[in-house]
Amino acid sequence: MSTIHSSLPDGHRTAAMQSAPPLKPPVSFSRILELQTWRMLGLVLAIGVMWAVFQVLTEGSFVSPRNLSNLAVQTSVTALLAVGMTWLMVARQIDFSGGALIALLGVIAAKTQVALGWPFVGTLAVLIALGALVGLGQAMLVTRLAIPAFITTLAAFSYLRGTAFIISDGMTVAGLGDRFALVANANIPPAVSVALFLAMAVAVAVFRIQAWRRSPGPVRPVDVAAALTLIACLVVSAWAFGSYRGIPAPVVAALLVVMIATVVADHTAFGRHIYAVGANPEAARRAGIKVKGMLVALFVLSSLLATLGSLIQTSRLDAGSPGTAEFLSLEAISAAVIGGTSLFGGRGTVAGSALGALLMATIANGLSLMGVNTYWQLVTTGALLILALTVDRVTGKEEAA
């Protein structure tokens, strides 16, 4: 079990152990869920406020269907990485290699398409195989040799990037062709997009009302707020995507992944086990959870999501660039942390991380629209991270104990 523990500094481990129930009265699970939901709603509110501010500062360009569509696409790759990252972080792991993997697979995609003239399916198969292999390799180092994920994936951060430079000779390889361009530049037609989002909004409303009718207790404010917010988001999405070009393929991918991951986390044994391992690895192992097998799955998943991200980015750019996505993994970690994922494991939601990614992309996009220097983006993101953690420390004491 040293595997799990060893990826954390001693201080962290101690902190995690102190959170064990005997020291303080336990907080009920439903209370934790409620706090988590409030936190996410706070995040949505923060994003809403920022949109309003940018709307004013950009003289009305920000909240336009076109820019919101762009914003969604600009969020998608980071969000995909953040999903894999969230689960790894919940299980007390980390993955720094996503950005480098995106660069490497992008270069390989471009090389096989441009220089070797492979069929699209061949390139796709190789990318998926390589992505899975990279994840598997990292998982093996972590689970079999007990090398901390921090080091394993930091090494991958380096050798994957280096390989990308070697394969491409340091050059951007462009011109992958129409078939490849379709991957990320396709859209679900606007009319269908509107129908999809409105149907989801109606479904949420119906489901919520039914749940309230069935449950004996009073209606909780948090559930009302959550349902209304979700419906509002769906309606805004219907408007934005419906009035521009429909839902872009990268957004479809990101939304599907976030939705599926949320369902898996909440309603499957696998999902619950991830949180169990994060909360207390030793207890989880004694409870019969196959910790190593689960970690292998998480690392492979993380790399496969990076593979999907690479496909999207390479297709959008029509080029594989060895130096690209340099800080993307750090962005994904930031998104997860802003979204409420704990660096010490056991806590975090995929949806929260996706919102964190949206918040970061909002800042980047808004400042870019304003023509403000990107240096400010770095400063704002840093400030935001500290703010998010401060809010957690102040309001989340009950939960973190």
């Binding site: 820019n67 600009q74 951007t172 980015q313 750019l317 690209t324 990107t374």
Partner: protein, 381 residues
């Protein structure tokens, strides 16, 4: 120690002063433990082999350095009867400190230094000065008055050429919304070229004719970040952008991807730097107007020639100087850059393919009516 003192005396410096200064400066940079053995080794090796010149590169990840700069440098120096030693630093400032120490240790009598960043080169130049090795700042300016010569592309001139290209594209009148994609923040090349843009554009900006919608530096010259910059600028202006000036071809590719998504590729002016395979293709497909290419072979040859002269303690002569800190300036050897466009594409490919570019990759799959005269023959060759 006698031997070392001897070498230092040869350099017209008092050995004791030298040693103290060396100690202080090196200890300041990286700690005496690592520095002293190298400094001692320097003296010994230098005496043994005086006919060696060094080349410290910042990285090998940019193909020109491996394919043109280094081999031409080596060939030129060897033709003059010198051996060469070279190291590259993976774009890491700290690694370059070790590289320079190691080269001094190998007894070089002149160093061509492509600093990872200009500022980080200042300490390295001091280190070399203390070891009696003259330094040529290569490709990247090092703001130190102790630099013996500066050999580089005239980046400001490149920026001027690009902006004037935009002017020509716009029918001789600078007017409309511009986007500027600058390279890595803090990079001398990116700053110089951007400065050149502004020289040309500023009067038109002041007159209210030209508006800069966005000017951003892009971490790692990342094409994807440039794509986002252009995408957002297009959103902001509702596609009212007439020109995208890019510091290099990779970012120009990103700009083209953003323009293509709005059906604007080929209608908006785009330029870049380096004349890469991809840029050449984009130029032939009329999505990019031109790229700028610097005669890197001449840059390397010039540096090697100057190294040999410095090693032989000959004087350097040049008409131009480049300003460094505190009102001083250093001899500047600017290397010519020229536009690569449809008209001279074939000629360019003939000279630099294979090696720097690959004519086969450039020309393959380009529709026949888009090929310039003479291209088909190249494709067959």
């Amino acid at each position: 120690m006698d031997k070392q003192a001897q070498v230092h005396a040869d350099d017209q410096q008092a050995p004791t002063t030298m040693k103290r200064r060396q100690f202080i400066s090196l200890a300041g940079t990286l700690g005496a433990t690592a520095a002293l053995p190298a400094a001692l080794g320097a003296g010994a090796a230098q005496a043994a082999d005086a006919k060696k010149v060094g080349f410290a590169l910042s990285t090998f990840t940019v193909p020109r350095y491996v394919k043109i700069d280094l081999p031409v440098f080596q060939k030129t120096a060897q033709a003059a009867g010198f051996t060469t030693a070279s190291l590259q630093a993976d774009s890491k400032v700290d690694r370059q400190i070790n590289d320079v120490q190691n080269l001094i240790g190998q007894g070089i009598s002149a160093l061509t230094l492509m600093a990872v960043t200009g500022e980080s080169g200042v300490g390295l130049v001091r280190m070399c000065k203390d070891a009696g090795v003259p330094v040529i700042a290569y490709n990247q300016m090092i703001p130190s008055p102790d630099v013996a010569a500066y050999v580089a592309r005239d980046n400001v001139d490149v920026g001027v050429k690009m902006a004037k290209g935009a002017e020509a594209f716009l029918g001789g009148k600078l007017k409309g919304n511009f986007v500027i994609c600058s390279g890595h923040p803090g990079d001398g090349v990116a700053m110089g070229i951007t400065q050149g843009y502004m020289q040309v554009l500023q009067p038109a900006i002041d007159a209210g004719d030209v508006k800069i919608i966005a000017q951003q530096y892009h971490q790692g010259w990342d094409p994807e970040l440039a794509r986002k910059t252009v995408e957002n600028a297009l959103s902001r202006t509702n596609n009212n952008v007439v020109a995208v000036l890019c510091n290099n071809d990779g970012m120009a590719g990103g700009a083209i991807a953003a323009l293509r998504a709005q059906g604007l590729a080929g209608k908006v002016f785009v330029c870049g730097l380096d004349a890469t395979n991809e840029a050449c293709r984009a130029i032939l497909m009329k999505e990019q107007d031109f790229s700028v290419f610097t005669k890197y072979d001449e840059m390397a040859k010039t540096a090697a020639d100057l190294s040999v002269k410095l090693a032989k303690k000959e004087a350097l002569s040049t008409a131009r100087t480049f300003p460094v800190a505190s009102g001083k300036s250093v001899p500047f050897f600017p290397i010519e850059s020229y536009l690569v466009n449809r008209d001279n594409m074939v000629e360019y490919l003939k000279r630099y393919s294979p090696g720097y570019v690959d004519a086969q990759i450039v020309l393959r799959g380009i529709p026949e009516n888009m090929l310039p005269p003479g291209a088909k023959e190249l494709l067959k060759a």
